[in-house]
Symmetry: C2
Subunit: 482 residues, 2 copies
C-alpha cells in the first residue's frame, strides 16, 4: 500500500488545497516582511526562507501524486511552479501522468534535464509513452536514451498504437506462466518477484511462442492444492483484446462482464500486454468529459488558468462555425424583409418557432447518439425508430403549436396569424425530428463523431427552416389579406 494518507472526501481535498495556499501566502508575506527590515542580515533571511520551503515540501511529500496533480490543476500559474519545485522528484513522473493534457503542457517547461532519468526510472514503458508526445524533442530524446533496450522497444511499440486503441491503453508488465507449471511453482515465482501488480486478478498462461492459452485467476492459487497443474484450473475463453481494438469497445466489455484485467494479443495471437481496470476507468472518465465538453464545442480540455488569449482561441472554431449558421439564418430572414415591414408581429414571433424546433431536435439527437453508442440502432429497427420520432414530433407539434398559436392570438388578435404560427410549428418540429434522426447517422456513416458537429448542423437547419417556413407561410397567406 502507498504510505500517503489517502483523501476520500472532497471537503478534505479542498481543505488540503486551502492549507497549501495558506502556507504559500504566509511564506510570501514573511519574505516580504524580511526584505523590508533592512537591519536583518542576509544569512538569517536565507535560513528562514529555507525553513519555510521545507514546511511546504514536507506537506507535499505526504500527498499522493494524484492529489498533488489536483493541487497543481487548481492553482494559478505562478504558484504551480513553486509547488512543482517543492515536490519530491521521485513523484514527478506519476504526477505528470495524473495531470490533464492542458495543464501537463504548462508544467513540462519546469522540468530540468537532470530530472529526466529520475522520471524514466519511476515509470513503466506504457506510461513513458503516454508522456512522450507532450515532451519537447530534446527532453524526449534524453528520456529515450536513459532507457534500457527492452523498455525503449516497448515505448516505440506503445507509440505506434493509435490514440483510443487498446494497445495505447495497455500495460506491458504482466506475469505469465506455463500450462505444465504446478500451482506451487507459480507461487514460488510470485514469491521471488516479491511484489505483485495489485490491479491484476489474473496471471496469463502462454505456450512456447508466447501464444495465449488462457488465464489463471490468482484466487485459484489460494483455494487449490499446490500440487495441481496450471492446466487443471486454467480459465479458457477469457475476454481477450487485440492491440488495435477500439478502447471504447474494451471499456464496454469491461463494464458488461465486470472485468478487472484482460490479456491483449497481437495479430499473431501472441500475448503482448494486459489491460487493467484502472486504465479503463481513466479512459471512461476522459471520454465522457470529452463528450460533454465537445457538446459546447470545446474540442480539448482547457486549463482553468490558461492565459486569456489561449483560452479565447480555444473557443474560436466553435464561435466561427456558429456565426456562419447565424449568418445563414439571418439571410433567410432577409428574403422576407418586405413581409416583415407589413406585419411587424412576424419579427416578434419568429424566434419562437426556431427555438422550439432546435430544442426538440436536440432531444432526438441526444437519444439517437445514445442508441448508437449502445449499439441499439440497426437496420432492422431503424424505420420503427424513425416513425416513432416522427409521430412524437407530430404529437408535440400539434400540442405546442396550439399553445404558441394561442399566444400569438392573445397578443395580436389575428386568427390567421395564429394559424400560420401553428402550422409553422408543426412543420418545423417534423423537420427537426427528421434532422435529429438522420444527422447523427450520416455523420457516423461518414466516419465522423456525431457528438461534435451534430447539434450545430441541427440548429442551423431548425433555425433557417423555422424562419423560412414561418415567414414563407405568412407571405403566402397573410400579406395579401391585409
Amino acid at each position: 500500500m502507498a504510505e500517503e494518507p489517502l483523501i476520500e472526501h472532497q471537503r478534505d481535498l479542498q481543505e488540503m488545497l486551502n492549507q497549501i495556499q495558506f502556507l504559500m501566502e504566509r511564506q510570501k508575506l514573511v519574505s516580504q516582511l524580511l526584505k523590508k527590515q533592512k537591519g536583518s542580515n542576509e544569512l538569517l533571511q536565507t535560513l528562514l526562507e529555507k525553513q519555510q520551503n521545507t514546511e511546504l515540501q514536507q506537506y507535499l511529500r505526504r500527498l499522493h501524486p494524484a492529489d498533488i496533480a489536483y493541487v497543481l490543476e487548481s492553482l494559478p500559474m505562478a504558484k504551480r511552479e513553486e509547488v512543482w519545485r517543492s515536490v519530491d522528484k521521485n513523484s514527478y513522473g506519476e504526477i505528470l501522468l495524473e495531470l490533464s493534457d492542458a495543464v501537463r503542457e504548462r508544467i513540462i517547461p519546469f522540468i530540468q534535464n537532470d530530472d529526466i532519468a529520475q522520471i524514466a526510472r519511476k515509470l513503466d514503458s506504457d506510461e513513458i509513452a503516454d508522456l512522450f508526445p507532450d515532451l519537447p524533442s530534446d527532453i524526449a530524446n534524453d528520456l529515450m536514451d536513459s532507457l534500457q533496450q527492452e523498455e525503449r522497444q516497448q515505448v516505440h511499440s506503445a507509440l505506434s498504437f493509435p490514440d483510443g486503441s487498446v494497445g495505447a491503453l495497455m500495460d506491458f508488465e504482466m506475469i505469465t506462466v506455463k500450462e505444465d507449471n504446478s500451482l506451487g511453482d507459480v507461487i514460488d515465482i510470485l514469491r521471488k518477484r516479491g511484489e505483485m501488480p495489485s490491479q491484476s486478478n489474473m496471471l496469463f498462461v502462454v505456450g512456447v511462442n508466447k501464444e495465449l492459452i488462457g488465464g489463471l485467476e490468482i484466487n485459484e492459487l489460494l483455494i487449490n492444492d499446490s500440487k495441481l497443474l496450471v492446466c487443471d484450473v486454467i480459465s479458457q475463453g477469457i475476454p481477450t483484446f487485440h492491440t488495435n481494438d477500439e478502447a471504447k469497445e474494451a471499456a464496454q466489455a469491461f463494464e458488461r462482464y465486470d472485468l478487472i484485467s484482460a490479456p491483449v494479443i497481437n495479430a499473431h495471437n501472441h500475448l503482448v500486454g494486459c489491460l487493467h481496470i484502472d486504465a479503463v476507468v481513466d479512459f471512461i472518465n476522459e471520454s465522457s468529459q470529452r463528450e460533454i465538453l465537445s457538446k459546447s464545442g470545446l474540442s480539448e480540455e482547457e486549463d482553468l488558468f490558461a492565459p486569456v488569449l489561449q483560452s479565447g482561441k480555444n473557443r474560436w472554431p466553435w464561435l466561427g462555425l456558429n456565426l456562419v449558421t447565424a449568418f445563414i439564418a439571418s439571410r433567410v430572414i432577409g428574403i422576407f424583409e418586405e413581409t416583415i415591414v407589413h406585419i411587424v408581429a412576424l419579427a416578434t414571433l419568429m424566434p419562437i418557432v426556431a427555438s422550439v424546433g432546435g430544442n426538440t431536435g436536440n432531444q432526438t439527437i441526444a437519444l439517437i447518439i445514445r442508441g448508437l453508442t449502445l449499439n441499439q440502432i440497426s437496420s432492422a429497427n431503424f424505420y420503427r425508430l424513425l416513425f416513432k420520432e416522427l409521430r412524437i414530433s407530430i404529437l408535440n407539434g400539434v400540442i405546442w403549436g396550439a399553445v404558441v398559436g394561442v399566444f400569438a392570438f392573445v397578443f395580436y388578435q389575428q386568427w390567421q396569424l395564429a394559424l400560420v404560427m401553428f402550422a409553422a410549428m408543426v412543420i418545423n418540429l417534423i423537420i427537426a425530428s427528421l434532422a435529429g434522426v438522420f444527422i447523427p447517422l450520416i455523420l457516423k456513416g461518414m466516419g465522423r463523431d456525431p457528438v461534435m458537429g451534430g447539434s450545430v448542423i441541427l440548429t442551423a437547419i431548425t433555425d433557417s427552416m423555422g424562419f423560412f417556413i414561418f415567414l414563407g407561410l405568412a407571405s403566402l397567406f397573410l400579406v395579401s389579406k391585409i
Copy 2:
C-alpha cells in the same frame, strides 16, 4: 469463470442481435405458413412450434445475462416478451439488474409470481434492493417473504440508503479475518468457502465488535510465509467510506487511487459492506449518461421503443420550459416593434447577437461545471476565474463583433447600424460570460444540479438581453437619424 461465450466486439454483439431477430422472423413465418395449410394437423403444428422455440432458447441460453439485457433493450416490445419467455429463468435476476430503468419497468410485467423465488435465490441482498423499488407491491412482498431473515434485514438496510450514496452501491457480502489469524488460517478459511469474490483484491480485518482495523491484500497471502500473522502484513489507512458518503466522491477516490475494492463502515465504525470497482464503473457510466441526457432536458433514460405518448411526455417539461423563455424573448422584441418597422434590417440581424451570446455563454458554463465537478473552484481562485472569463469575453466580443459589424455593413451599407451591431455583440458576450460563471455557482449553492437547468437559464438571459441590447441601442442611436 462464466461458461458463456463473452462478446468483446460491437460487430459480434450486433451480429448476435441480427441472428436472434432472424430466428424469430423465421419462426413467425413458419407458423403463418402452417396456419394457412389447412390440411396439416394440430399436433404437427404444435410440435414444429416447440422445436422452433427450443432453437431460440438454446441460442439465448449460451449468452451472458448482460448480453441478453442488450438484446431486450434493442428489440421492440412485442419481441421482447418472446425473448423473455425463452430465457433461462435462472438468469432472470441478473438480466433485470443489467437492464436500464426505462426498459426494466416494461419487462417487469412479464414476471410471473412463481418466478420470484427463483430470482431471489440468485441475487445478493444489495441486488434485490436495486430491483425492489421497481417491482409492483404484490411481487415485492412475495419476494421479501421468500428471503431469509438476515437477507431481509440487509435488503431493508440497503433500501434505507438514499440513491447516490455509497450505502446504496455497496455489497454486503465480504470476507473478514481477525488480526491474530495466521495467514495459513486465512487460506484455510478461503479454501473452506471454495469460491472467492473475483472482484475483490482485499479481505477486511475486523476487531471483536466488527470495527474495521485494516485490509489484507490477497496478494500478501501468496507471497508471504503462511506462519506470519495477519497483523504482520495488514494494510492500515486504506481508503474507507461511510454508508452515507456520496457515491460520486467514492467514484473519484477509486479513480484517483486506482482502487479495486474498499471497506464501507457505518457511523459506529463497524464494517458493514464493501464497495467494488464494478459497481463504481456502473455508477460512473450511469452518471455520465444522465449528465449527457439532462443537457438536452431528458430527465430520465428513455426506452428507444417506448410508446409515442410516453416518449412525447418525457420531453414536455423541457419543451414547456424552453417555450416560456422563448415567449419572454419574444415579448422583449415586442417592445421594439416601432423601431423594427422603421429599420427592418434589425429583425434580420437580431438573431445573430442572441445566438452568438448563447454559444459563448454555454462554453463558459461547460468549463465552470467541469471545474466544480473536479473541485477546482474555490473562494481563493474565484475572482481570478471570473476576471479571466470576462477578459476572454471582451476579447471575443471585439473580434467577433467586428466580424458581424462588417457583415451588417456589407448588406446594409450603414456604418451606424454596423456600430450598433458591434457594441451589442461586445455587451452581450460580457453578459454571457457573467451568466456562465454565476449561474452554475448559484444553482450549486442552492443545492441544485447545475447541469440540468444551467443552460436553459443562460440561453434565456442571452436571448432576451441580446434582443434588448441590440434593439435598444438601435432605438437610441439609429431611429432619430433616419
